[in-house]
Symmetry: D2
Subunit: 384 residues, 4 copies
């Protein structure tokens, strides 16, 4: 049997969505995945428009994810979608994910995983029961230099980790643009669609995920100060958190959507006994590596001096920049490889298993719970 | 009739090629183009391997571009390739380009356009005669901030242009790695495959193209000093050029492949009467805009303050980096749009016509000629 | 009467001191101040060595600050020192400061102001009683772009302030170098000479001072997590603090001396409703000014677009870097001007009054108290 | 006999001068040098004003350098000036320098050394005859990291040098501000005061000096294109030069005063067989060191990993920025040490001999001659 592309269906990503397009670009970039169907909007007309933009035949564009899953299931393997990409607002993550899993489809879901932690736990249980592939697009860990940081720390190059500063300032919600019906702002500041946290759920979870991924350490205690800076907004738009890690390291996690003038300032700094690393998402193709006893180094993708894992996640020779779509694509490529291996009955290579999964998704939900518990509490430390 | 994807065939890009993969990634990124056939190597076995990697059916993988063009021509419109992507070493650009044009196929060719200027002139004539779409991947002009620079200058924001410094240092040929059969180095330093210039043909032409694209000005005189720094290498690996522009502006163009430790350092600085711009390819998502009378500004993609053309060439909101694949994709998207418009019988929008074409390719060839003439001459200035 | 230089005496700054030399360089840079006497070390021999390096006559080099103050007092005005520079370790700040004030000498003291808050309060009372000039060298606020940030915020250019991140990572105490008798490390990690805090007292106080100076806002609540990362060290070498400002702004202050590989990473970011600023001490001659609605600007010293206060604190035209000695010199120049005005019976210009004073010193001491109270407490917020 | 400070007299540096103040600040910064007299302006009233600002007694403020040299000569050693600092416009360098040497005074002169090359040759002869100390303030080579670059290259760490790019863009003469009587602009664009070159004489000579100092190589051939971009200006305001070095290395030297928006952009890049360095004057406390086979390093002052020479030229621990005044001070400190050693009858340490001297000054003058010869010539290469 000829090798074939892996088939993707998409829920969400209709007109006005920006994340849908990124998922699409990232999924198809490497040529292993094909978009074969979609339920792009709860409005069938809008769904149809997007379906045409993706050159889908009319019979593979659906009015709802339920319809899509039911009908796709009836198609033969190789024709039907292999996995579902979920690019909807937060409150519509759980439904499609659950139904997809129950019907034998693998899943790639945007984050946060679900609307409530209970739902997230249910998905974990479902993934464990079905054994299906489930990825959550904490895509910033898809960058090659983030992989390099993780590998350096895993190998002990920095020594025991002592301090971690993970921050994610944005400024786009400095004004109450949700009142002008800006699409992104509207649902992200709406508790009914976003969940119980705004800023921290949307991007604070990325900061946590990045810190834990890079260090290989779990946060075990936290002390949070969440706030609403734009009057009348129902959800937090800024949050500052003291954290302690399982090995005794201390640190800070902060996120903000009212840091006026910041675009998308995810940055991580990790310090061990022997050295430190600093990586900034907006300039992802350089990482500072600082040493106590010799000059700072700047590592860049595509070079032979990098770890295998970092090299596995780059397409280009040195000096040819890759961006966030490529980081998404690194997750999708791994998912495609894992699904392909299941089709082939083989074991995926270790590198292909390196993507954020349902447990990362659950951890993000628990983090949101703990942040709100802490922020509302007089108690200094909350166990996590 | 349903809108359909534009079909691409590829020549070159077999095992070991890096540029083939970039063309592929860039072509398919936006979902408008599909790779339908290829002659990936002059070795049919290698061609087959690459064809499988791209999931092509065996009957669409050919042993030569001649065979491909002949057979594809027989297929019905919609099934056959619409355009040919040429990702071969320099000495195999002309043949496929010419044959494609003669058989009614549009073309996207890597640069330099051809092996000799005569060939380039022949292609220009063919394009003019056939009216087919022809793009040359001087892809660095595909970046959104390069578009912004061009638009700012076109609108006169910098005033009359006075000085242009366009430079392209690389260091990967600091050692004679061609003797160890490094694939890229081998053909690029071989006059039989690369042409009469090494470094200047390979990357100096990018520096020229970028300078002329951004400023909208032509170089009219030049004075070149090309050199071979690695003993025994038959082609230039470094070149420094004084240039004069049609409007009286002066400047420098230099390129190097022995600037040890440089990765891919294309950078342009343009100064007018009122201000200047500086853009560095390795960090493509920021551009310095310098003023005589107020603070320097940093422009970044995705922002509403940018020109329409810059915004047209971005996929992402501010702070979400795009890279070189996206710059390639901007060319491919325009080519696809132009071909689509021909299928539809409509006029493409002005933005879609903004890609490097056969005239840019010819100009690159002429530049190589003049550089060598100048470098060999005792005369100071050579008209260009 | 001819105008004369202002005379400085110094206590501390003997062999091995680095801060003594910076005080000296900063004091004399602008030619208004002359070092006329000193008690450079408690070891008279060492004091003599340093005195000779400063070309002082033997009779103006003293064995103790007590002796110096007593003897200088007997000299005629114009010959005797006008003010005392205190460049000793922390536990020897209070004694000389008190005795100097009591004997009519103005004072420039290094920070932290004293060993205990009680002492600091006593100095405040003495300054209020004597009316003498008293500066504390929180020298980082001497940089011209820090002045610019303050002026911008004062004028409301950023709108109401919402978020402040002030951080000061260093890495030089990553190893227990105090056990190898490294001079700086030995006293800074010794509770008997440094006081009850290590890192936070030494540099955390700078981070607070910078934040409050730039914003013009006071911290009113804090929640601190201080830690000792190098086993066996008796004082904190890292501290993370959540803070709340009087106007409702939130923020973070952190300092560290175990952030391996960091040199002297003081950085401040302030965000208001309309924009933000970011300034990094290690590259003091550029400041990012970020806006919600237009490109980021980079302000640089020496330019006409800067506020008067920023221009007053620069010596050079644009592009000619100034450093930390110049920032110290800005304080000293102001002190000299204030003393000169007293000699002349005139009022100093407003710009000359802009230096950190005894109240800033007291606030630093109170900050240390509150940090330790908070760090030891289960209570989340401590009023400050 | 007690060690004493070295006495400096100054010619030039009156009201409106910026370079006079830098010389003064740099000279006194380290406390070894005292300004004892001056002829600050050809207008005695202006000279008096400046003299008072420097707290000089009226009898040491002179109406002309001739008067100063004659009268100072009569004072006893220890009271009279030891050396003359020349901070006048270019056409008044030679006179004071010559007379000072003839009367036994050491000299520190600003650059370019003289108005004509003949004068420069005369000064060289005089220095050789008198054996006096003579420094020329090509102060950019005073930075510690420039020293480090020189040491690295001298030790062969970069291998044989192949390519050197030394550039010095400024933008302050983008408009014809000399017509508004801006002091600096007026004399610098006036052939009667500046000499036969404008931009290249003023700052192009710095770019040459830096390149030759860092590499230890001489330029032996050049090809220049000088131009006047602001209509009506009598001297070049932009110049681009191809250069060849004695060892076969190639390169570019360019300078500009119409690169709108550039402040003071001196930058050097040197590439050898094994690696390269890049240093930018505006951010002098970091230097990129690039390697063919490992990550780029960033070297910073004050670190133990630096060469002795670099460490000798720094005052501060890592992360505490020094600027251009400190670079000037490094020259002055060496001059003071050399004069002190003569007073003591001892040999100065090797580090103290490392300052730009009369031969560097002569070379700058010859460079100007050759640039103009080349720019006016149809011949491509001019021997230098």
């Amino acid at each position: 049997m000829a090798k074939r592309k892996i088939n993707m269906g998409m829920v969400g990503g209709g007109p006005g969505s920006f994340i849908g397009a990124i998922h699409f670009n990232g999924a198809i970039l490497d040529g292993q995945i094909e978009l074969v169907c979609g339920a792009f909007s709860s409005d069938p007309e809008k769904s149809t428009i997007t379906g045409k933009e993706y050159y889908l035949p009319a019979n593979r564009v659906y009015g709802s994810y339920q319809e899509m899953i039911e009908k796709e299931k009836l198609l033969p393997e190789g024709e039907r979608m292999d996995f579902l990409c979920i690019a909807t607002p937060n409150h519509v993550h759980f439904g499609p994910a659950k139904m997809a899993l129950e019907n034998g489809f693998h899943v790639v879901s945007d984050k946060p995983l679900t609307f409530t932690t209970t739902e997230a736990e249910e998905l974990v249980a479902l993934v464990e029961r079905t054994g299906l592939v489930f990825a959550v697009t904490h895509a910033y860990t898809g960058y090659p230099l983030v992989k390099e940081a993780r590998e350096m720390i895993k190998k002990g190059e920095l020594g025991k980790i002592r301090k971690v500063v993970s921050e994610y300032p944005q400024g786009w919600l400095s004004d109450p643009i949700e009142r002008e019906n800006q699409t992104q702002a509207s649902w992200r500041t709406d508790p009914g669609r976003s969940g119980k946290s705004g800023c921290m759920g949307d991007i604070g979870t990325h900061a946590l995920n990045l810190a834990e991924y890079v260090t290989g350490l779990k946060v075990t205690e936290l002390c949070a100060d969440l706030s609403i800076m734009v009057e009348g907004r129902p959800l937090d738009d800024d949050g500052n958190v003291l954290v302690r890690y399982e090995n005794g390291a201390r640190g800070i996690i902060y996120a903000s959507q009212i840091s006026a003038g910041e675009e998308n300032g995810l940055r991580i700094r990790v310090y061990g006994e022997k050295g430190g690393i600093e990586w900034v998402q907006a300039e992802p193709n350089r990482m500072e590596v600082k040493w106590t006893d010799r000059p700072m180094e700047i590592k860049k993708p595509g070079n032979a001096y990098l770890s295998d894992l970092a090299q596995y996640n780059t397409r280009m020779p040195p000096g040819h920049p890759e961006g966030l779509i490529e980081a998404f694509a690194n997750i999708y490529r791994n998912v495609a490889t894992c699904i392909q291996c299941r089709l082939d009955g083989t074991e995926p290579p270790a590198e292909a298993l390196d993507f954020p999964d349902v447990y990362d998704g659950l951890r993000g939900m628990q983090f949101i719970d703990k942040l709100i518990e802490s922020s509302d509490s007089e108690k200094k430390w909350i166990a996590f």
